[in-house]
Amino acid sequence: MMASATSAFVPAFDWSTVIVNPWMIDFPITFWTVLMGFCVTAACGLVGNYLLLRRMALVGDAISHSILAGLVIAFMIFRTTNVWVAMTGALAAGFVTVLMIEFIHKQSRVKPDAAICITFTSLFALGVALMSALESKGNIHLDAECVLYGEIAFVALEPPFVFAGREMGPPSVLIMALVLLVIGVMIFAFYKELLVTAFDPGLSRSLGMRTAVWHYGLMAALAIVIVFAFESVGAILAVAMLIVPPMFAAQLSNRMRPRIALTVLHAALSSVIGYHLSVWLVCSAAGAMVVAASLLFVLAWVGTGVTHRLRRVETSDAVPERA
């Protein structure tokens, strides 16, 4: 029973359908989906590098959940699904989340981890509750599941953005690329400040940097990235990519510049591999990209573990000789 189910469940791997055809026959879909995956992953990963250093990896998780409440409330107030309205609502929700976590943590004896959990689950619950209330009134159909794990493959089906008579591509991909560009420029321009405030708040204060400003600046960047990622690919890809690429990079390097490069490399690899995985298994592309990204981390994890082990064996061999 199990065996027969499995054979139907996992399609046979066929080189031409899984690897070649997507780039030959379905080129536009493949190209835009992979590009979207890369932009989201790289943008999230770049911001995530600093979150990882600040041990705030799960704040991204929190914000991406609570943004739902912001989207729904913004819709209820303005009665439109305009992207800028949604953006404002989501950004506000992001800030409310950060402030609520700090409020609960500072004003009561609840520990920060519990404060994070309480805040984002409550806001997420509020979002889902409002959404289902709207849905039951028949006002709108917002698909909660779609919000959660999105469908990145749909971006290629959007009507293309036309500029000066030429089709430039699906607007959400272009916006995401723009976001990635802005994040990249910001990191390039404020490299020193971001690094010092993440590593050594005391030193950064003594150098005259306003740590709170950089903290909230990073939070704002996080919220913006998540909102745009959320719009098209769902929360789960955004959350995963805030955490996994930085972990991959940190596993392989201790220095910031190589880490940034590794993050981008990881983004490219995981979006391509993930897309082919989803074509092969006929499953959610966003989910498959997360799986690919995780597997890459596991590879780096095992790889560094093995090299460490080898090095230790070498040194332990060397010790008796010296003795």
Binding site: C117, T121, I243
Partner: protein, 499 residues
């Protein structure tokens, strides 16, 4: 903490309530199973509310019993998560069970509660093991490890779910109910499973209460007396996985962690005792579960999870704001009353200083002198004098503030505390005499009588502070202002207790 915690284990209160909870749990499935079958028809909100309280619908009974038991077992487990600072472990594990749910469904392509339970439990334990492994073998911290497990397992789960939807018969699997929960879709098997898990959790917590509380609060001590700390940690993780998996159907993957953490955090704000916290947390969880089922039913099969979590969040907010000891309102009130008392005592001290400047020959301080002393306007000085009058510490007549015996005593005490502390800092801590005033300004309001006795003894019942001013002794305080006229009073040298 650990020893006092242990001593309180065997108190009757929590155990009595625990027995009560156990009875409810044991009765609930019977009561649900004994339902008569009625058809569900469309009606308005009020009718549905009435129907809810009539407990006529069998699906409603299952939903309500399931939701309440879910609240109890999540509340119990959540208490340990909160005191062990593992709140986000609940979040990570609840996401990590998703691939297990999918694999359990694939086992024979039905929503067999047992298969899903087994698959999800295995996935949950795998997730907990991965977190531990990452922490032990890499430099990544706990939060990154949790985030990785959460994201990668959830991603894998999403893949499996979308693959199932492509299978014949997978489309109507109803697996999407696992995302946000639908208590109305609870079947007899699900409710029984919840009951078994809840009873198991309750029994484990009662049987090993001492061990769990000890390993939670002081694992080093627990290890030193030979308790297998790791074993208890993993047994808790196993129970946690059970609780999460059993609750999935009713509250959904994303919001299980909320049912684990929010009731427990609310209980944490209300009590300092673990036993009481467990009981409160279970009660809050049960209430939230019931409310969630109610709103879900009244609102025509809305998802249950969000409403449960919002009910729990309302309880938490109430505890956060109005908790008797740790609540924001209580603390604000305490701070305010302390600030007011400090203000009064400072006014008393200024009055003493004014009297002292006149060698205690005058009855009371004039408002003008007081205002000058405190560098304030006349109106402010007057309002402070009124404040003193309200507390029977002084009387205000003809612009002159005279202290009552009570006020005199308090004023002497404050001045004495201040000057004793200054002397103590200069003598014992070798701080320059011109640096001690600010410190004494703060401590004078909080020194208790016992500390004062000790200070007096250490300073050999000195009579003069570092600035040469008189330190009023017990006798001076007792005899009142007239005893100090012309500074004839000699502090400890005269009527004070013999050294």
């Amino acid at each position: 903490m650990s020893t006092s915690g242990c001593r309180n284990l065997r108190r009757g209160g929590p155990q009595g309530v625990a027995v009560l909870l156990l009875t409810i749990i044991l009765l609930a499935p019977q009561w649900a199973a004994a339902a008569r079958i009625n058809e569900i028809s469309e009606s308005n909100l009020a009718d549905r509310a009435i129907r809810f309280f009539a407990f006529q619908d069998p699906s409603l009974r299952y939903a309500l019993a399931g939701s309440m038991m879910l609240g109890i077992c999540c509340g119990l487990m959540g208490t340990f998560l909160v005191v062990r600072k593992l709140a986000l472990m609940g979040d990570a594990l609840s996401h990590a069970v998703l691939p297990g749910v999918a694999l359990g469904f694939l086992w024979n392509m039905t929503k067999d509660p047992l298969a899903i339970f087994v698959g999800a439990t295995i996935a949950g334990l795998l997730g907990a093991g991965t977190v531990q492994l990452i922490r032990n073998t890499t430099k990544h911290k706990e939060d990154a490890a949790l985030g990785f497990v959460l994201a990668s397992f959830f991603g894998a789960g999403i893949c499996l779910f979308t693959m199932i939807q492509n299978l014949p018969g997978g489309n109507k699997s109803g697996l999407d109910k696992f995302m946000f929960g639908q208590a109305a879709s609870l079947g007899r098997g699900d409710v029984l499973l919840l009951a078994v898990v809840t009873v198991l959790t309750l029994v484990a917590v009662l049987a090993f209460y001492k061990e769990y509380s000890l390993t939670s609060f002081d694992s080093a001590f627990a290890r030193s007396i030979g308790l297998p700390v790791q074993l208890f940690h993993y047994s808790l993780m196993l129970l946690l996985a059970f609780a999460i998996v059993a609750s999935l159907q009713a509250v959904g993957v994303v919001l299980v962690s909320a049912m684990l953490v929010i009731p427990a955090a609310a209980a944490f704000l209300l009590t300092d005792r673990l036993g009481m916290m467990l009981v409160l947390s279970a009660i809050f969880g049960m209430t939230a579960g019931g409310m969630g089922a109610f709103f879900s039913f009244v609102g025509r099969n809305l998802p249950t999870g969000p409403f449960m979590v919002l009910s729990a969040a309302a309880v938490f907010v109430a505890a956060l704001l109005f908790g008797p000891r740790h609540g924001i309102a209580a603390r604000w009130w305490r701070q305010r009353s302390r600030a007011e008392r400090t203000q009064r005592e400072n006014t008393l001290k200024s009055i003493y200083h004014v009297l002292e400047a006149a060698d205690f020959r005058i009855e009371g301080a004039s408002l003008a002198d007081l205002a000058e002393k405190r560098r304030e306007t006349l109106e402010e000085a007057q309002s402070q004098a009124r404040e003193l009058e309200r507390h029977h510490l002084a009387s205000l007549r003809n612009e002159v503030v005279s202290l009552t015996p009570q006020g005199w005593q308090r004023a002497c005490e404050i001045v004495r505390n201040h000057r004793l502390w200054e002397l103590y800092l200069t003598n014992a801590a070798q701080i320059a005499a011109d640096h001690v005033h600010e410190d004494a300004e703060i401590i004078e309001h909080v020194l208790g009588e016992d500390n004062v006795r000790q200070l007096e003894k250490r300073l050999n019942y000195a009579t003069r502070d570092p600035h040469g001013k008189l330190i009023p002794g017990l006798e001076d305080i007792r005899q009142g202002r007239s005893a100090l006229i012309g500074t004839r009073a000699t502090g400890y040298g005269g009527g004070g207790p013999k050294p």
